[in-house]
Symmetry: C2
Subunit: 159 residues, 2 copies
């Protein structure tokens, strides 16, 4: 990340979380981070509204997302900042961020660059649905038949 973006990210000020009615009805962005310091972020396609992925942001990654205009998450498995698309080129340009009533979740409306949001090659990570509960064991069915890109070509055979 460039020094300018880091400086802009650090300068952003968030609201106080002292007053519940202000959090719910007010005009200050006062995000709530859980005990791991993370907030849930749902990335949706800005055009279709389709949910592309669910990820998490630390305060640092949220600040960078706001300053950069591209989605920067926090990888729980790698425990590090994750500028989505930095290696694959599949960045998410953030057009709008919505927050919920208690400000502990975010919805990002993004333009997904490259083939798709999912490392498996699908445009969305949600490419399977649960079959009706009458099937036991509970089974899945693929609902997005076509991959948008070849993940081996982007990430290599070793993922």
């Amino acid at each position: 990340m460039s020094p300018e973006i880091n400086t802009a990210a650090a300068a952003l000020r968030f609201g106080s979380r002292e007053d519940k009615s202000e959090i719910e009805a007010g005009g200050e962005f006062a995000p709530k981070f859980d005990r791991d310091g993370l907030i849930t972020a749902v990335a949706t396609d800005a055009l279709t509204g389709e949910v592309l992925m669910v990820a998490y942001m630390s305060e640092a990654s949220l600040r960078l997302t706001l300053a950069l205009g591209e989605a920067v998450y926090f990888s729980r498995s790698r425990q590090e900042l994750w500028h989505k698309g930095a290696t694959s080129g599949h960045v998410q340009k953030v057009l709008e961020i919505l927050t919920d009533c208690d400000q502990d979740a975010l919805v990002l409306r993004v333009q997904q660059r490259g083939g798709g949001a999912c490392h498996t090659g699908y445009r969305s990570c949600f490419y399977r649905r649960i079959l009706p509960a009458s099937t036991n064991p509970v089974s899945l069915q693929t609902v997005i038949e076509e991959r948008s890109y070849d993940p081996d070509a982007v990430y290599g055979k070793e993922k």
Copy 2:
């Protein structure tokens, strides 16, 4: 919950999480719960695709959701099962559940009964957006102007 629903919920079998490629590409539902025993669930309007709310499910609440066909979450603040709409009548009929590549998040496609998903009276909890980062402190703007119902009439003045 009726004994029949509890029995059906308990009888559901989930897949193993031993094989990563099976989790990503397979046909078994093998949900991953975090260290608090929860999985993130995003409720969307089945008709419009709009994100209505983000909540969490324990294994028990996920089983009940599948058996009942209505959203049953786990309330992190109250630390108890939360059959959404049980008091307000604003139940969410679940038409479809999608899971993501690593099966640690769910998208529910629901029919929201009653006025809306949010306790504040809006159809969605995501009724505010963040204004562009040039505004500092970071500010919010309401994007859903009309409440769908009067929360005081449903929940009483004391929420």
